[in-house]
Symmetry: C2
Subunit: 407 residues, 2 copies
């Protein structure tokens, strides 16, 4: 067994970059009237500090970061986790710990103390409360913290961070390009290692092995589904169905490298695709082109949606319908989370800025004759891009113009 | 590239078993004075319904399950997810959906309606509020639901589910045994594929490839760390250090199969281990034996802790100290979550019942001479067991009596 070594792989985010993030966030906090941020979720924690370890999988022990309006963050960690911080966030000096699990007080009083000490002129603390956020601690403990810091008020600080995180640095873009490229290679090679008779589970295992061999680090997300003449849904994990002639197969994956994600898919036909599948593939391929071209600074996510929706509507012989927008969006932000704001949706309207990263993800529903009448299928395409003055620049390697075939 | 097919692998949990879980939970709800449960987290959702898809990685779209005091659950899902439910939880008929993301109302009003309709004589709803729980939706939306269902009161219903989930069915134990066995094989083969000069990252990739080849489905957790004469901490992901003579290497992994986890580790010496490492390995091996023997119905998690702590204290030449219990516990529950209650801890005291599943996880700190003085190391051992009338029965294959060596 061999894995590829890749000495040219880009480095993880540096402590200097974390320090400059902190300065930028603190300036924005003051504008937003926040004395401190109270952070509990893996991606925000990592964005601010660099803290990196698999421990977030263990939900018994929460971990906390308090960022005051000036100065370095305070980390409140279960004992043992200090070594992770010294190794992955060595620039942070103030680490407080408790022996966990302690059902009486799992870090709550340490958080209250750190938040009270950060009190400033605003009287407000930004927590992970709003849209698309997650508090990664028991809600009962969160409410205890809220009560314990009164009269300091907890308001949403997550959306402020999300909007800052939308725009990536050169180091972040390099990491995302790296993971997009290695996963592109694993997809391009798929017809050489997946074959008729393989179950979806076997194909999923082989694909993951390819990703790992090429340097992918974590594969938290893998769709792998197939069906005669098309698949019914983009959200299914692998099952026991074995590939046979006439099947359409999709894999859609979120792979991370030094914490940064790709999120894209590839479609394959087992044997020659039907005319209906060719038509759908052609439509989503062209819709992707239109979405990439529309993704320019100053335009909006709703424009990126519309550019794709027009191609899809034409292929369906319909008018664009801003109300009935299917699965809600045609792509989204990406970074330290696989799915970040914004959404390429008619109701989003985020203005695009240079160095934002997006997925472009059109899908076309179509019908095939099934044994009990017409069956609804969908074909979804996806690429990852970064916004440049000239439009979207691919981070992935573009999917083939014609649908790849598993012979 | 080949992956092993395994026709004797146990099946996923059946709809019949989900139905009987629902009946048992509903009986307990009535005892606890709960009219309904409001469920948002992947593992509780799957435990009650069978709903299974990779979509939980996407935090933009939450999903909800309302379990009334009698009758089937109601699923509130983002549009598109209905197909997942029909495929993986086909026995559930009442599915309500909305087009997500919708920042104005991401399923909140649908949840409020379903919860109000479940109102019964108790006036209380069990939510995921307490110890070791996670609400997997934005807290702002959770508070809107809480306000919207008033005067119905939201109280913790998670701990009730957790305690029921501690005791596993034969089908659950078969799935856990299956994943423990295949990961045991990947660990046993490690000295044949990991070698001096490999980086920790390369070893981690090779190990994951072995797990996937042998039928492991997901690998959300992988510790892989090493150091001269010992490693400093059990919680580090793989780094760039290359294995050399005198290193001690640990891999600790949470792998899942049909949703059920193993969580155990193996230690390796690169070349012959030092006397200090041999001493530590012998102590944690014997502490594990003691923990397994102590894990009998009617005894408590604190007894399982004490049996291990006595061996460790003796090896350190110390008295057992119930206050200073290191990392807080020596093992924990396991199932659909990698770390579930209870904890093998002096402050836990959960009474053991036949068919509970536990990890037995002793660790021994020790010191070696470093270039700047004594360096603290730790050696951690771990096995997974099921409680039987005769004591703990291994689900894993027991680690070797002598520390395995990478030549």
């Amino acid at each position: 067994m061999s894995v590829e070594s890749n000495p040219t792989a880009p480095p993880a985010i540096s402590p200097d970059e974390h320090r400059s993030r902190i300065s930028a966030v603190q300036a924005r906090m003051d504008e937003q009237g926040l004395d401190a941020l109270f952070i509990t979720s893996e991606d925000n924690f990592r964005y601010l500090t660099g803290f990196d370890a698999p421990v977030w999988q263990n939900l018994t022990r929460p971990r906390y970061c308090v960022l005051p309006g000036s100065g370095d963050p305070v980390l409140v960690l279960p004992s043992g986790n200090e070594i992770i911080a010294r190794r992955t966030a060595p620039w942070i000096g103030d680490i407080r710990s408790w022996v966990a699990p302690n059902p009486e007080d799992d870090g709550v009083s340490l958080c209250i103390d750190a938040l009270k000490a950060a009190r400033g002129r605003h009287g407000r603390i930004g927590a992970e409360l709003g849209r698309e956020s997650r508090v990664t601690m028991p809600v009962r403990d969160f409410l205890r913290v809220r009560e314990g810091v009164a009269p300091l008020e907890l308001v949403d600080g997550d959306w402020m961070l999300r909007t800052m995180r939308m725009v990536k640095s050169p180091a972040e873009i390099a990491l995302m390009r790296h993971v997009c490229q290695l996963v592109s290679s694993a997809f391009e090679a798929l017809p050489s290692y997946a074959m008729r008779g393989d179950s979806e589970r076997e194909v999923a295992a082989k694909f993951q092995i390819e990703v790992l061999r090429r340097g992918g680090e974590k594969i938290p997300y893998l769709i792998c589904t197939s069906g005669a003449g098309g698949y019914p849904c983009i959200n299914l994990g692998p099952g026991d169905h074995r590939l046979e002639a006439g099947d359409v197969l999709i894999l859609d994956t979120g792979v991370s490298y030094r914490g940064y994600f790709c999120d894209f898919d590839r479609d394959f036909s087992v044997g020659e695709p039907s005319d209906a599948v060719k038509h759908a593939y052609d439509a989503v391929w062209r819709a992707t082109e239109a979405g990439i071209a529309a993704a320019r600074p100053g335009r909006r996510t709703s424009d990126v949606w519309l550019a794709q929706a027009e191609v899809l509507a034409e292929a369906e012989g319909k008018e664009v319908n801003r109300e009935g927008f299917g699965s809600g969006r045609l792509g989204h932000g990406i970074g330290l989370r696989m799915c970040e704001p914004p959404s390429n949706s008619p109701i989003d309207d985020q203005v695009l800025i240079e160095n934002m990263t997006l997925t472009i993800e059109p899908g076309l529903p179509f019908f095939v004759d099934g044994k009990d009448g017409p069956e609804r299928k969908i074909l979804v395409h996806e690429e990852n891009i970064v916004i440049t003055p000239d439009g979207g620049e691919l981070l992935t390697r573009r999917a083939p113009r014609e649908m790849p075939v598993i012979e």
